[in-house]
Homo-oligomer: 430 residues x 2
Amino acid sequence: MVKKVGIGLLGLGTVGSGVYRILTERGKTLTQRAGVDVEVKGILVRNPAAGRRVTVEGGLLTTDPERILNNPDISIVVEVLGGEEPARTYIERALRAGKTVATANKEVIAKHGVELLGLAREQKVDLLFEASVAGGIPLLRPLQESLAGEDVEAVYGIVNGTTNYMLTAMDKEGLDFAEVLAAAQRKGYAEADPTADIAGHDAARKLAILASIAFNTQVPIDKVYCSGIEEITAADIAGARELGYVIKLLAIARRVEEGIEVRVHPALLPQGHPLSTVDGVYNAVMVQGWAVGTLMFYGAGAGQMPTGSAVVGDIIAAAKNLFSGLRGQPRVGFAPGVPVIPLEEVETRYYLRLRVVPEPGVLGVVTRLCSQEGVELVSLDIKNWGQDSANLIIRTQRVKEKAFRGALAALRKEARVHEVESYIRLEGED
Amino acid sequence: MVKKVGIGLLGLGTVGSGVYRILTERGKTLTQRAGVDVEVKGILVRNPAAGRRVTVEGGLLTTDPERILNNPDISIVVEVLGGEEPARTYIERALRAGKTVATANKEVIAKHGVELLGLAREQKVDLLFEASVAGGIPLLRPLQESLAGEDVEAVYGIVNGTTNYMLTAMDKEGLDFAEVLAAAQRKGYAEADPTADIAGHDAARKLAILASIAFNTQVPIDKVYCSGIEEITAADIAGARELGYVIKLLAIARRVEEGIEVRVHPALLPQGHPLSTVDGVYNAVMVQGWAVGTLMFYGAGAGQMPTGSAVVGDIIAAAKNLFSGLRGQPRVGFAPGVPVIPLEEVETRYYLRLRVVPEPGVLGVVTRLCSQEGVELVSLDIKNWGQDSANLIIRTQRVKEKAFRGALAALRKEARVHEVESYIRLEGED
């Protein structure tokens, strides 16, 4: 009992080409395995004459969005343009036209997801966005369905492939930031303007979506603390490895008594941690639940075919809802807003590298300055003891951000401390 | 808009207690997150006076299955008795009575899943069994839903916590099989009669279920090749580690041109492989798809709360289907039977350890005997060269099982080969 459904694609870039290839090259799998016969009825592109990664029947391409948004043969609109506009407007118009929408657009969902989901509910259609977080990895649907009864305590992981590729290359090949960025750009893993990736904005958007789903609450993108990898040096990575850690850009959402914390920043992870071996462009997300304990979901976080696979999963789910008349049923309810903890109140451990005056009393001075601000140390190692300076490598106990900031300020004022060379949060051990 | 549903538990052992705890201690999460208010209306136990892991309202316990199976207040029956009978009969009776069933019972599903699923469809109710494979890890539902459009090429992984705990302990602590088995039994990780686990039967049942879902076909349990860890020695593990491998009990299902292969056996995995660091009682399953590439799902494969969490996920899904009138809709269609390849036709690589007569020509003899049977070698190392014997450590190229058996027979007949000490399949590198 195979049912036919017409879909329209907005965009035919990397992800769009992947979706098109799966639908056309693996149509038989879709009908056999999912009982759905998907037919592409139109594809919005900027320039129909442009070179393409896929061969598309000529008549399908159009530069006129109305041919998708106002096409009665199209029940499901697939938005794979990327970027905020015109994608957001098209999604809104498709929903208003009574069409279900599947999108891979993390920017639109992170910024406008709640209104758009509300609109979808009003219109009794679906808005699905599995592909917006962690590419091909089934994550949002398992969180919403398999773990619907689970009290989620934390979700955290590696959700940006570009920065993970760069950190892996810096670690394995000992290269510096600028070199690996250039290499990543050559390989197409980083964009010409890499800011969204390396400054952590892309990860922050994904985390806002992930945390909203995990904790059933609206996590506004501007409440997500975000710090990128621009200042991570080869020396940081080598120093971390010497202590038994690797450096990863982590996206972390955790429920604490007073609310939830949501933050993206580089972090030291112990080498035995399951996330520490997630290398290159791979993503992995850990979910910690009251009953289920720790889960990890691992796979390709980006790329034409993996991301295309996630979109196709959504198309099938949308088609099934369409046939069963179950469109527009939210899979989880959103609880009234849970407060996002301000960064100053967030507790973490810290790794800290200082350059100090090499005299015997300096350890006592540093320890005392930290302690006066409420920052207690777990370990203190001296490296490169020389004529003019020495390095102190410090690991702290769990400490509130504001206390740590206080200690940093005190250390910077202290004459015997030449410089605070770097400080990175320490995760994955308690 | 919270909807009420009455459920009945068959069994209150490890998993049953977990389910009961989640439903009673986290009822608020269920209503808030899933919009479902679950009420336990009865629990079948053998002895209501027995000591329990959970405190249960006295009136709920019964020794009479009719109070569950014929109770009009119960819409969902949760079968957590384990074992083939009477579990299978109760499931059948519940389905015939028009009740949806959620079960954690891999034995019943592996042996009778197809008939029971057929019956559920006839009766327009659901039969859900996420907890039957890999405990708390969301796996069957993501495969059926998120990956409904994916051409699955292989599923493989570690699906038995007992044997993984034992192999990890043998590796990390250098203990021998009998010692770790005793330790596992003391800790409750292995049963008094550990056969089902250590002989691989438990993993084979899970693999039959997993492969049936992944490839949309019925994989009969008696077609799954199954070999356990009884003969793995501390020497095997140490020898593997020296070559850069770890030994894991793997369950592997792979689609090949002629059909599918399904097998459970110990295997050497390279130390960098994602499954190689899955230690202790944890499980992990990799899914390889045409478009999505390689995914891994990792988590607790057993235990009261994790397995309970998976059952509760099924209860919520069942309740939602109940309310929406969508009961009894198979999530994937089963294609007509795909043949299971006989073991003799399965191709793998092999690790082989021989004790031979220590004379110069022996390497040539062994190489020639293997080659005559169509077994080509990738590496050959000599160890423990002594007066009377030496060890040859061999890794082969990919070879059909029947050719390898031929080589084994030839080596055993050869006078210069004292003994074939061990042979283990080699996975995870090609």
